[in-house]
């Protein structure tokens, strides 16, 4: 799938509503902390992130929380797709395995489901699931760029 096709697909996502956006904003640090704890508890962490990369993984979780917060406040499919491509390129070149992303994104989905209001978390989860489902396309594109 090309970058433009990914952007077209992302444009079909329903942007998180105001309640979801507010809930995510208020909880973003709690969510990031939960994701970090889940990732740190994994026995295969070093295989996923490479040796000596734990602080980079922690930064990534905090950056992800701030990125999604920003994205939900003014959803832009181009920003979503370009940023995910950038993150894949940068983190992969620093030793993160492709398998890191499903583990990380699933931890985010689990954190949103557990911490956010059940009625509002869907908007956030939908966006994260969208990235998760399109990992193969991002990985393909990363090699092409």
């Amino acid at each position: 799938m090309t970058k433009n096709e990914l952007i077209e697909r992302a444009a079909e996502l329903r942007p998180p509503g105001p309640e979801c956006t507010r809930d995510f904003h208020d909880l973003r640090e709690t969510l990031a902390a939960r994701v970090i704890a889940v990732m740190r508890s994994r026995e295969d962490l070093e295989r996923l992130i490479g040796a000596g990369n734990e602080s980079m993984m922690i930064d990534n979780a905090h950056n992800m929380s701030r990125f999604l917060d920003s994205l939900f406040h003014g959803f832009d499919p181009g920003v979503l797709v370009e940023t995910v491509f950038w993150v894949f390129r940068a983190y992969r070149s620093h030793g993160f395995a492709l398998a890191f992303w499903p583990a990380h994104l699933n931890a985010w989905i689990e954190a949103c489901t557990a911490e956010m209001d059940a009625g509002t978390c869907t908007g956030a989860v939908d966006v994260i699931e969208w990235i998760l489902v399109h990992i193969p396309s991002f990985a393909e594109g990363e090699q092409a760029t």
Partner: protein
């Protein structure tokens, strides 16, 4: 026909090489040579300093340099800007004031500094507040200085929400305040949400800012 003095590819490449090796003195020699040759400040900012720093960022992204090399390059560029400072002045004063700040959590401050310098170059009084500025600290300053223009620099998109927060606060307190926003955060989009702020204008580059200020000055002559 005369050729406009410019930053050539070979000069840029040499500058980048020296920047990556941490050679501040030779970086300055190059900068000074270009300045003496008549290359405009805005071209030095865009075609040499900004371009080199973006390239340094790409090299970190590709894991070809450590993060410390990126910090060193940024520090050298900031020190070069200090040396350029006397050349920034010289424009006829226009009796206008600009306040420029990086939004909260934004630690990439070079772009904002360049913006403040471009204002100075065009005769404005500019106040550059630096990185990671809390909205609560900006409002009293606006009240005190009553700037003609307020500018916010956002280097990474993750800080976009901080921009929206400060724009809301300024709009509520000073509804007619003219505001400029810009920065690398907008490289992939994000300007559409700004339409809800009628007094906000997105400036896509230092060249665009330079041209706007030049036009404005022409109109007042």
């Amino acid at each position: 026909m005369t050729t406009k003095p410019a930053v050539t590819e070979s000069t840029y490449s040499r500058f980048l090489e020296l920047l990556l090796s941490g050679d501040r003195a030779y970086c300055y020699d190059i900068l000074e040579g270009l300045l003496n040759a008549g290359v405009p400040i805005v071209d030095l900012f865009e075609n040499l300093l900004r371009r080199a720093l973006y390239r340094v960022g790409e090299l970190w992204e590709a894991n070809r340099i450590p993060v410390i090399a990126e910090h060193m390059a940024t520090s050298i560029v900031e020190s070069l800007m200090n040396l350029l400072y006397p050349h920034v002045f010289g424009g006829k004063p226009v009796n206008k004031t600009a306040i420029i700040a990086c939004v909260q959590n934004e630690f990439h401050q070079v772009g904002g500094r360049m913006v403040a310098d471009i204002f100075e170059f065009h005769g404005w009084s500019s106040y550059f507040l630096g990185s990671n500025i809390s909205p609560n600290n900006i409002l009293p300053l606006i009240q005190e200085k009553r700037p003609d223009v307020l500018g916010f620099s956002v280097g990474v998109y993750s800080n976009y929400v901080q921009l929206l927060t400060v724009l809301e606060m300024v709009r509520n307190a000073f509804p007619s305040q003219e505001i400029l926003v810009g920065g690398n955060a907008f490289g992939w989009g994000g300007t559409r949400s700004l339409v809800r702020f009628p007094s906000v204008t997105y400036i896509e580059s230092l060249w665009a800012l330079d041209a706007n200020l030049r036009d404005e000055r022409r109109k007042t002559i």
